[in-house]
């Protein structure tokens, strides 16, 4: 017999430091939050590490949540910020991104609808760190280049160029995938 709580009830319980409510909030939201972490991570292991840190931060900071915007949105932002922090800690790995001849690829001939969520996730994870962050923040979270440049400590121009490179690489990869899919269909 498990009574289901609304996310607001769970949030209030967490504000009171109730361990049971913390666990229930985790159980109810972890899969969505892990999907967020996955987009920002190279692989599942990194994503789960970042999920742990993110939840610890959520429980520590829950008293600061003032109710502007949905609580789930607030949690997502914590997860994104956690990912950004760990990226900035390892910032050395950035800027050594091999730039393929991505621009020259024609953005035609692929069928998006065949690609499932996991495929897209995989594509994003395979991007180099800087591209992955910018693409996620701009295309999915909806941050502006100005916000991204402030959060990542880069220039707006860098944010823009990384975004377009990220798109180009993604398109290129999708075409490759489509080719394989097509081959498996026919073959």
């Amino acid at each position: 017999m498990t009574r289901t709580y609304t996310i607001t009830e769970l949030m209030e319980g967490c504000k009171a430091g109730n361990r049971k409510m913390q666990e229930l909030l985790y159980k109810q939201t972890a899969s969505k939050m892990l999907a967020v972490c996955m987009r920002y991570a190279k692989d599942r292991m990194e994503a789960e590490d970042s999920l742990q840190l993110g939840y610890i931060k959520i429980f520590q900071k829950v008293t600061e949540y003032r109710g502007d915007g949905s609580f789930e949105g607030w949690m997502r932002r914590i997860m994104v910020n956690t990912a950004i922090e760990s990226y900035r800690r390892n910032i050395k790995s950035m800027n050594v991104v091999p730039i393929d001849d991505a621009y020259e690829q024609p953005a035609t001939g692929f069928d998006f609808h065949r690609l499932g969520m996991q495929d897209l996730m995989k594509l994003i994870q395979n991007l180099a760190d800087g591209y992955r962050l910018v693409f996620n923040m701009y295309a999915i979270e909806g941050y502006s280049h100005k916000e991204i440049s402030e959060m990542l400590g880069i220039s707006e121009g860098a944010s823009k160029s990384q975004l377009s490179r990220a798109r180009a690489i993604l398109k290129q990869e999708i075409i490759k995938m489509e080719g394989i899919n097509y081959a498996t269909y026919t073959g």
Binding site: A35, A107, F112, Y138, I140
Partner: protein, 259 residues
Amino acid sequence: MQHIPDNEFDRLFKDRLMDAEVQPANDLWERIAPQLSTKKKRNMSIYWSAAATVLIALSAGLLFKPQEKIALHAAQESVPAKVPAAAGNSGVPAEKHVHAKAQVSSTALQAVSEEQGDNSPSPVEKHYAASKNLIVEEKSLVAMQPVEEDDHHIIKVTEEPAATITTEIETAMTETALANNIKPVNTEPEVSEAMNEAAEVEQQSRPRIRNAGDIVNFVVDKLDKREQKFVEFRTDDDEGTSLVAINIGPLKINQRRSR
């Protein structure tokens, strides 16, 4: 799907990934939970210790405001007499004695008052008190003389009360002597010997709480059984408020370790 615009391309990702769900490993909560408990508890205990320390120190400071220290060897160094406790029994209004700036050893008076307040003082203390009274008598003669600076006219006005004090003290002394079956001692050597002896005994038998620092140390000693207390004050100086040691988990300060 031909030449897709950037915003549409982004949208395709957003639509499929925004509300995506990925099941985390089953034991992930078990990895998060312990990190929550330890952090929280530890923080709390530090805050509580700090708050308790401040509270204790403050309340002790309010209760035990710095008092005039009673010098054990005050027989030699005279101080202006406060209201003599001995006069309390005499029926003479106390104010008069306040004005009398008789140079009487306050320790001696203290001793007399203790004598009267206490029903069973140790023999040594009694002896001490009795011998002190002799000093008082001698000193009170000095009190008849004008004392320094601006006390002149007060002295004139209060010569009579000063004389009364002497009488009071004499009476008290006699009472004490009678009560103790000890005859007044007249010779100097004996007096000082008795005083030294008394002083020693007193130093050992007196409770060691003399100021706010002692209070804090006492309370901390009851609460914290470690060798290095979470807070310790030096109490053998005049103020009794010098912080010498702190031991709150990671924070350890120790200015002195010889007690």
